[in-house]
């Protein structure tokens, strides 16, 4: 087995890096692949709560790097899946506890045993980001269709290129279909045109993400959610399958025609 190491980053905080990491990891594990996630946000760990594994942490990434435990001891197995593991970030340390070469070494150790290693990068362009992309074979940049997120994504894409880890691939998260239709949100096409990199996923804004994250169950585990399906599709595309982008209008079809009928009656 030779894992592909994928780092999920964004520049701007709060665009959905951790949500994307957790869901894509579950999507890949659901396909029967062996997956390990690493929380690269030392001092601000979150991937554990998003995955619902926060109560099972004993050792963390810094313990592994500083030799206080074996790698296996820091890997928490997600019992809902056959082969999904999490290496949590340390909460009481800061990012200077880890160097890019530590991460490369860790990546190499994991490569033989997994199909995928997903690293959840912290926001920003500093040490934590550099640590997270150091071992990457591929970088996913997550953005929202908003000016600040797109601008920061562009900056990150440039830095990824400069580190010779590019071209990065794009995930557009939290696309609000109603706003797009009204002309008040950038379309996915707009964002792709501006950033000029390949797309791997468009995730619609979906309140099921909030609800499922509240419970520690990534939305991929819920059947029939549009966001869950979008994350599942990212997993399939990473595995090399051609998956058409979701018809984000499909669900609105009925209500749309209904409201059109009512409107034409009333006008």
């Amino acid at each position: 087995m030779t894992a592909t190491i994928i780092t999920i980053t964004s520049g701007k905080g709060g665009v959905g890096k951790t949500t994307t990491t957790a869901n894509v990891a579950l999507a890949l594990a659901e396909q029967g692949d062996k997956v390990v996630c690493i929380d690269g946000d030392i001092g601000l760990r979150n991937l554990d709560v998003v995955m619902g594994l926060e109560n099972r942490i004993v050792y963390d990434l810094v313990d592994v790097i500083e030799g206080r435990c074996r790698l296996k001891q820091a890997m928490i197995r997600d019992k809902r899946m056959n082969e999904l593991y999490l290496i949590p970030a340390a909460q009481t340390r800061d990012k200077s506890a880890v160097t890019p070469s530590d991460m490369v070494r860790l990546g190499d150790q994991l490569r033989d045993e997994f199909d995928w290693v997903l690293i959840d990068s912290p926001a920003g362009i500093e040490r934590g980001f550099r640590n997270s992309i150091a071992p990457a074979d591929m970088v996913l940049v997550v953005t929202n269709p908003e000016v600040s997120a797109v601008r920061d994504a562009d900056r990150i894409i440039g830095l990824v290129e400069a580190e010779e880890k590019g071209p990065a691939k794009l995930v557009i998260n939290r696309l609000n279909i109603d706003l797009v239709k009204r002309g008040d949100m950038l379309t996915a096409e707009d964002v792709v045109e501006l950033l000029a990199i390949d797309l791997v996923g468009i995730v619609p804004e979906d309140e099921s993400v909030v609800v499922s994250t509240n419970r520690g169950q990534p939305v991929v585990m819920e059947a029939n959610t549009t966001a869950g399906q979008a994350f599942r599709n990212i997993g399939l595309r990473l595995k090399g399958q051609e998956v058409p982008y979701l018809d984000l209008d499909a669900k609105k079809g009925f209500f749309h025609s209904l409201s059109n009928m009512l409107r034409s009656g009333g006008d």
Binding site: G158, E161, V180, R182, D184, M185
Partner: protein, 85 residues
């Protein structure tokens, strides 16, 4: 209805246009002011050799994918050219 649409339906275009400019400047580290200055200096040098119409000169950073390109369009004033029609 039409008036309401006009008010709220346009902000995505504004976002896109603003981002286009911001990204060019972020990527090249060139401010609009620096581009203007460069344009003036270029025109100064070129005018030493050939007659150009300063009003018609266009210099801009354009993009081709993630590649940036400085494109200059500098029409030359020609004393020998005659209008046919």
């Amino acid at each position: 209805m039409a008036a309401w649409r006009k008010k709220v339906g346009r902000s995505a275009n504004a976002a896109k246009e603003r981002l286009k400019l911001v990204l060019i400047h972020d990527r090249t580290d060139l401010t609009p002011k620096a581009v203007d200055q460069m344009k003036n200096e270029l025109m100064e040098v070129i005018s030493r050799y050939i007659a150009i119409d300063p009003e018609a000169v266009r210099i801009a950073v354009t993009q081709d994918g993630r590649e940036q390109r400085l494109v200059a369009d500098i029409p030359i004033k020609s004393s020998t050219r005659r209008k046919v029609g």
